[in-house]
C-alpha cells in the first residue's frame, strides 16, 4: 500500500486547538504508525502552520523549516517516504524559491497546498502559475486540501485546466461536497480524488462516478486513525483490481514509483 497523504514534522507539535491524534513529528514515529497498518510507502509533507513565536513555539510561516524536516525524514527512509514540498503561495517569489529548493536540493516529487490554512486564492494563477510550472518541469504532482469553503473542489478547476499535464489530487475528495469533486474530475482528466477521511459510501460513489483510475488512497495520518483509513478502503467491496489501482497503482504511475527504486529519484 502507498499512502498519498501523510503529515510529518515539528509543526505538528504546534497544532492547536485540534492537535494530531498520534505522534508523527519524527520520521521514526511516523514509520512506526505506517508499519502497524502495512503501509509500505507514504507521500509526506508538512502540516499546516498555525502560528506561534520563535522563542516558545514553532515559527515557520513559509514552511522552510518544515520542508527541511521532511527532507531529513526522506533521507533517513528513502524506501518509505516520498517528499512533497509545502509553501504558502502568498509569499510570491520566496515561495517559488522554496519550492525550487524542494525539488532541487530535497528531490521532492510534488507540492502540497492548503488555502484554508494559508489563506490564498486558488483561482489566482498569478501566484499559483509559477509554482505549477515548477511542478510540471519536475514531472511532479500537486495535492490540495478540499472540503467546504474556502477550499471547495470547483475552485481548483482553473488550476487543473491551466496545467492539464500536472496531476492534481483533491485531498479528502471534497469531503461532504463530493459531488463537486466529481464534477471537477469530470472536467479535467488530470484531477484525482484522494480518500482520506471520506465516508465509505462516498468513496464507493466516487469510484463509480470517475472510475478506479482516478481515485487515490490516502490517510491524513496523524490526524486520522491509520487502521480506520486502511480498513475503510478494503471494506467497501471494490474488485481486487480496482483496489490495487487505488491503493498503489495510480499514485505509482503519477509519481513513477517502482518497487525497486528508492522513493527519491
Amino acid at each position: 500500500m502507498i499512502d498519498a497523504h501523510c503529515h510529518l514534522g515539528p509543526g505538528l507539535r504546534a497544532q492547536a486547538p485540534f492537535g494530531p491524534l498520534f505522534k508523527a513529528d519524527t520520521a521514526e514515529s511516523l514509520v512506526a504508525l505506517l508499519d502497524e497498518v502495512d503501509i509500505e510507502r507514504a507521500v509526506i509533507f508538512a502540516p499546516s502552520w498555525q502560528g506561534g513565536w520563535d522563542d516558545t513555539d514553532f515559527n515557520d510561516p513559509a514552511y522552510e523549516r518544515a520542508n527541511a524536516a521532511v527532507a531529513e525524514a526522506v533521507n533517513a527512509h528513502p524506501d518509505r517516504f516520498i517528499g512533497f514540498g509545502r509553501v504558502n503561495p502568498k509569499f510570491g517569489s520566496a515561495a517559488v524559491a522554496e519550492l525550487e529548493r524542494c525539488f532541487g536540493e530535497y528531490s521532492f516529487r510534488g507540492l502540497k497546498l492548503d488555502n484554508e490554512a494559508d489563506g490564498f486564492y486558488p483561482t489566482d494563477l498569478r501566484l499559483l502559475g509559477p509554482l505549477a510550472e515548477l511542478v510540471r518541469a519536475n514531472k511532479g504532482a500537486i495535492i490540495v486540501h478540499t472540503g467546504f469553503h474556502p477550499c471547495e473542489p470547483l475552485i481548483f478547476l482553473p488550476l487543473a485546466q491551466a496545467f492539464p499535464d500536472v496531476p492534481l489530487i483533491l485531498g479528502h475528495m471534497g469531503g461532504r461536497i463530493l459531488i463537486d469533486a466529481v464534477i471537477t474530475a469530470q472536467h479535467a482528466s488530470n484531477v484525482y480524488l484522494e480518500t482520506s477521511g471520506q465516508m465509505p459510501g462516498y468513496i464507493a460513489r466516487a469510484v463509480k462516478a470517475v472510475g478506479a483510475d482516478r481515485v487515490i488512497f490516502g490517510t491524513d495520518i496523524p490526524f486520522n486513525i491509520p487502521s480506520v483509513e486502511t480498513e475503510r478502503i478494503r471494506s467497501i467491496g471494490l474488485p481486487a483490481e480496482d483496489l490495487a489501482k487505488i491503493t498503489e497503482g495510480n499514485i505509482s504511475k503519477i509519481l513513477r514509483i517502482t518497487a525497486k527504486m528508492p522513493a527519491v529519484a
Binding site: 483561482t123 489566482d124 467546504f148 469553503h149 470547483l154 475552485i155 472536467h187
Partner: protein
Amino acid sequence: MPVIDAHVHMGPGLANHASPPLLRAEKAEEVIEIFDRSGIDKGCTFAPLIEGGDFDDYEYEKSNRFIYEASKSYPDRIIGYCRVNPNLGQQPLDEMARCHDEYGFKGLKLHPDWEYFYMHGPTVRPVLDRAADYGWPVIFHTGYYPLSHPTLAFPLADAYPTINFMLAHLSYRHTADAIVVAQRCPNVYLEPSGNATATAIGEVLRTLGPGKLVYGSDLPYTDPRDVMDKIRLQPGITSEDIDLIFGGTLSRLLGMDGRPGTRRESTRERTAAR
C-alpha cells in the same frame, strides 16, 4: 446605442419587503420614471424576491403576469424576464412556457440563495433545458457560498453551451473567482449591480476587457446612476467600452442587435417550422 439595464426589479412583491427598497418600483410608471431620469432606454425587468406577507406569490405567477402587463404598456422600455422557483417541479416549467408563448419574455432570472437551490443542482437542470430551448439568456443572482458561488457556473456553462449566463453582482466578495469563470467560459458574462465596488469593476475591465461586463443596476434596491457612475468614471474607459457595457453586448445576447444568427432558434420554433 440604447442603454439597456440587465437587472431591474418591478412589481407588487416589493411592497412586502421587511425593509423598503431605496426607490419605488411597484408600478410600471415608477420604473419608467427612474429609467428616464437615469438615462436608461430599456430594462430587463423581472419580479423581486417574494418576502412573504399578504402578497402570496411563491410561484411568481402573479409577478410574471405583472411584468407582462407592464411590457405591454411600455413595449419599447420593458424587456420582460421570467422568474421561477426551480424547486417546485412541473410548475416552473409550465410558468416558463406561459412566459415564453403567451408573454413573449426574453430571458430568465434565477436566485439560488432566495429560492434555496444549488446553482448547479438537479432542480435547476430542467429549467435550464427549457431556457436553452427558448434561446433565453439566464441571469443568476450570485455571490454567496455555497448555493451561488460563481465557480458553480463552470459545469453549467459547459453543459449549456448555447445559454449565455450572466452572474449578477460580480458575485459580491467572490469577484476574483467570477472573473476566472468568465475568462474560461465564453458564454459567461459578469454584471455589476448592487454594491459591486468600483475596484472590482476595474479589475473586471482590466482582466476581461469591456466585452464581458454587462451593465445592470438592481433597481430599485439601488439608484442606477450610482452603478453607472462606478463604470463611467473608471480611469481610462473609452466611449466604445461604454457602448459595449451599457447595451452593446446585452443587445447581442438578447438577439436585438439585428445581426443574423445571434439568437438561436428554439426547439419549439424549429418544430413549428416543420
